[in-house]
């Protein structure tokens, strides 16, 4: 198990390097110019100097190497220094600077991260809390009305795009009923019960939209996994031994069915960060997804590259976690 984990970790490094190179070259090929928004009255030689000041004067492999060094050494050290409060941990050197704001990319990401984590994270937790019991019950009472309803709701949640459910909720709850604000106010500081209520109200709609989507995904897997297990011999054995139905379903079948479902849950965590881009855009939540969109519009290459890389690391990391969890929970799986 340990050697397997180690091997996978080592294998993740070339994968991530390749992804970084691919995204870098894609951006490099692009005709998009970070200087495009500058006034046309700037003389060409000044424009050239500004390009050099942005670090665009060197060959692409030099810049790629420098970015890689900054991304893997300088930025993590600064993040660590900020988190622990020990300034001496930070490595000296150029940091990755955003073209738009001229401030370190990592600082902006750190500012945006809490919003995304709150909205996306909460919706994922709610999604799991709804999907798992519903999936268990649907499979236990297959073809009952709860099952039929659950299948329909998850089909709808699966099929309706978030850019439709978002405006639909806004129309119903913000415009017609006036319960929730349309725009997410990030400057709100939760320091009293009143502000806490405001925060809950502004989070309600984006969280609901994402919860519907996540619950739909997980519910399908949960139901299928439970159904697979109900036909197994050990279930009949357990019933024949005289165990109560509660123990059979909630202990024997549920625990075995959770094995594939937990890996699905782990695999889904990175996609909710990237998938929440649209929801954040609709509700004006200024999280990571919205940051990426703005950076793409503004040809802010360091920001796009760094954010994409953060997403890629999340995906690779959670793939690894899913595989390891699978082996930990299912003793029949042997990787070595």
């Amino acid at each position: 198990m340990f050697t397997y984990t180690l091997r996978r970790l080592l294998l993740a490094i070339p994968t991530l390097l390749f992804i970084a190179l691919a995204i870098f070259l894609l951006l490099e090929l692009s005709p998009g110019d970070p200087m495009a928004d500058m006034p046309l009255t700037i003389p060409p030689e000044v424009r050239e100097q500004m390009r050099i000041a942005l670090g665009l004067g060197e060959a692409w492999y030099v810049r790629f190497y420098k970015w890689l060094y900054m991304f893997s050494v300088v930025e993590p050290s600064h993040v660590l220094a900020n988190m622990t409060g020990i300034e001496s941990l930070a490595v000296e050197g150029q940091r990755i600077i955003s073209f738009q704001t001229r401030s370190p990319v990592a600082d902006i990401i750190a500012q945006r991260l809490p919003q995304t984590l709150w909205v996306v994270g909460l919706s994922y937790i709610f999604g799991i809390l709804i999907a798992v019991p519903l999936g268990v019950y649907s499979a236990y009472r297959q073809y009952s009305w709860v099952d039929q309803l659950g299948a329909f709701v998850s089909m709808v949640g699966f099929s309706l795009p978030t850019f439709f459910t978002g405006p639909l909720l806004m129309l119903i709850f913000s415009i017609w009923l006036g319960w929730f604000p349309i725009i997410y106010d990030t400057t709100l500081v939760v320091d009293s019960f009143h502000n806490f209520g405001l925060q809950m109200r502004q989070m309600a709609m984006p969280v609901f939209v994402l919860t519907l989507y996540n619950a739909a995904q997980i519910n399908r897997f949960m139901r299928a996994a439970m159904l697979d297990n109900f036909t197994q011999d050990y279930v009949r054995t357990a019933r024949a031994k005289g165990m109560s139905e509660k123990v059979v379903v909630l202990v024997h079948v549920l625990r075995n069915s959770m094995i594939p479902v937990i890996t699905v849950i782990a695999l889904g965590i990175p996609t909710i960060f990237t998938g929440a881009i649209i929801t954040e855009q609709i509700f004006r939540v200024n999280g990571l997804g919205q940051l990426l969109i703005i950076a793409i519009y503004a040809s802010d290459f360091p920001m796009v590259l760094t954010l994409s890389m953060v997403f890629a690391i999340l995906i690779v990391g959670f793939n690894l976690i899913a595989d390891i969890l699978y082996a930990v929970m299912d003793p029949r799986i042997r990787y070595d």
């Binding site: 894609l26 090929l29 998009g32 089909m155 795009p161 129309l171 415009i175 995906i315």
Partner: protein, 300 residues
């Protein structure tokens, strides 16, 4: 056994598939809805007097009426006509992207499953693509290559090609994995061995013996791909990274309508309902196809 009259004449297996498909009510309804939407989008414009891009500024922001069943937008363009035109684009992008993606996925899946020498390489490539952050990458691609491609092929065709290719190369992985798994199992079957023993070349072995047998998983993943491709195109258009503003697609219409959500809610809701209905019906068709194409379920 002796009574010849009770033996039914041989039937094409697709009739069996159709019989099973008919019993899935959701799939049947889904197919009818999907066909209705296709007819609406592709035949409708020939019957409807208004053009999707004709600007009649004096009759702007009208509500629903007999002349304009869905009203007019802020420039006086007929929304009913725009809905048909937008549907054409969304469906065309979805279908072409689906065909490309399924073709790419099947090709890589068959090659990886059949030829052991390139299996490792192709599967590493698939894993690599699965590790890419797809939506950000799609956004980046569609922003970066928008101008050069429009310059070469013209705005309409250029963006169409760009979006179709971008969706296809970010979505073939799942099909490839499924197909590879099936091909790996099929390759060891006796009939493949028999075909090989009489000297069938690899090309014909794949075309005649392997491909027809992986058809059912490919068809199921094709329907799922169609749904995903329509959603992805609409999402790109919604974020303003798809077709240009004067070019209606369903996603674009939703995005434009959101600005008027307070006064004219139907403007963003209607295209949203169209997207949702299309995707929902396609997903139900996929569900029905999965059951109908599975010989263990069929005939029970």
């Amino acid at each position: 056994m002796t009574d010849v009259s009770t033996i039914r004449p041989p039937r094409n297996q697709w009739w069996d598939v159709w019989d099973q498909f008919k019993t899935h009510r959701g799939a049947l309804v889904g197919m009818i809805v999907f066909l209705a939407i296709v007819v609406f989008c592709f035949v409708g414009p020939y019957l409807w007097p208004y053009s999707a891009t004709y600007i009649d500024i004096r009759s702007r922001n009208q509500g629903m009426s007999f002349a304009h069943p869905m009203g007019t937008d802020q420039l006086g363009r007929d929304i009913f006509a725009r809905m048909m035109k937008g549907g054409q684009v969304s469906l065309a992008v979805g279908i072409v992207a689906m065909i490309l993606s399924v073709f790419l996925g099947s090709l890589i899946g068959v090659l990886a499953g059949y030829f052991r020498r390139i299996d490792g390489l192709l599967m590493r490539l698939t894993d690599l693509f699965l590790a890419l952050p797809l939506l950000p990458l799609l956004l980046v691609m569609s922003m970066l290559f928008r101008q050069p491609l429009s310059a070469i092929f013209g705005v309409e065709l250029g963006i169409f090609l760009l979006i179709v290719t971008a969706i296809a190369i970010t979505s073939w992985m799942r099909t490839a994995r499924v197909v590879r798994g099936d091909v790996l199992a099929l390759k060891e079957r006796e009939y493949v061995l028999a075909a090989r023993s009489i000297g069938t070349p690899n090309r014909r072995l794949i075309m005649r013996h392997i491909l027809p047998n992986v058809l059912s998983p490919v068809m199921v993943s094709a329907t799922l791909m169609l749904a995903t491709a329509i959603i992805t195109e609409s999402a790109l258009s919604f974020l303003g990274m798809g077709f240009p503003p004067d070019f209606p697609t369903w996603g674009r219409l939703v995005a434009d309508g959101v600005d008027y959500l307070q006064r004219y809610p139907s403007r963003s809701m209607l295209p949203g309902v169209f997207i949702s209905l299309t995707v929902l019906s396609v997903n139900y068709i996929g569900d029905g196809l999965r059951d109908a194409l599975d010989p263990r379920i069929r005939g029970r």
